[in-house]
């Protein structure tokens, strides 16, 4: 199941639609890395609202995606982690350290606005 990636101004929004296999996650990683270059994106939102499981592999991949995109010059925000999923992740000792998170898409966009504005201001 491919994850659709929408372009919204300087940002990309990857909206996960169903449970993802390991292969789907890797594909998403590569797809985002390419698109950030093609669209010169400053920020990426990955919406995981529909995921009922975020296990060790998914966490590791999401962290890797954020680090890769950072090297490509874009900030990543993961949005929509469900309460039960957050609970299980904490039980597993899994963290998304170094990766931005926000409650939902709206908060995620606001977060990216702040992050990328700061970058622009610092550059002036």
């Amino acid at each position: 199941m491919q994850v659709p990636v929408l372009k919204q101004g300087y940002f990309l929004i990857a909206s996960i639609q169903s449970a993802l296999s390991d292969g789907d996650l890797i594909e998403l990683r590569d797809n985002l890395s390419n698109k950030v270059g093609r669209f010169r994106s400053r920020g990426v939102i990955i919406d995981v609202t529909v995921l009922d499981v975020i296990d060790s592999f998914a966490t590791r991949t999401l962290r890797a995606v954020a680090q890769m995109l950072k090297l490509r010059g874009a900030e990543t925000v993961i949005v929509g982690i469900q309460p039960d999923v957050a609970f299980a992740m904490v039980q597993l000792g899994l963290t998304l350290e170094g990766v931005g998170t926000a409650l939902d898409l709206e908060e995620g966009l606001a977060h990216l606005d702040r992050l990328t504005k700061r970058t622009v201001n610092n550059g002036q």
Binding site: G23, V53, D55, G93, L94
Partner: protein
């Protein structure tokens, strides 16, 4: 009444099937909320262990009962290389591959009971249970 289910695990895609079937059985048995997520996540970790180390195996899901307490049993069985050092494999942060080393110890934390039987060259059987409280 809920029945036993078996999922053949031959590829990473089967990991998703295994945890979805496990969640479905857990719902039937009356589990709710974070218990469902914990069961599905634990299944995901042991199924990935099969794919990574043994290539193929199976996940067996069954309703269990202990007096008046009901629960779910998850058995992950493979005929892979076996685990040479169980304490090491269960050590948080240790991975024989480039993984995060969270899978097996994590699955143990998510479930109520967790047992590993393994024989070098013969395979591994992990039995996990979660009880309805």
């Amino acid at each position: 009444m809920a029945n036993d289910t078996q999922v053949t695990v031959n590829s990473a895609a089967d990991i998703v099937t295994a945890r979805e079937k496990g969640r479905a059985l857990a719902v039937e048995l009356g589990f709710i909320g974070s218990d469902l997520t914990m069961i599905a996540t634990a299944i995901s970790e042991v199924a990935r262990n099969i794919v990574d180390h043994a290539k193929k195996g199976k996940i067996m899901l069954a309703p269990i009962r202990n007096g008046h307490t009901r629960g779910i049993s998850v058995v992950a069985k493979d005929e892979g290389p076996g685990i040479a050092n169980i304490p090491l494999a269960m050590q948080y942060g240790y991975s024989s591959r480039q993984g995060v080393g969270v899978g097996l110890p994590g699955a143990k934390w998510l479930m109520d009971d967790f047992k590993i039987d393994t024989k070098i060259g013969k395979g591994t059987m992990i039995t996990m249970k979660k009880w309805l409280h």
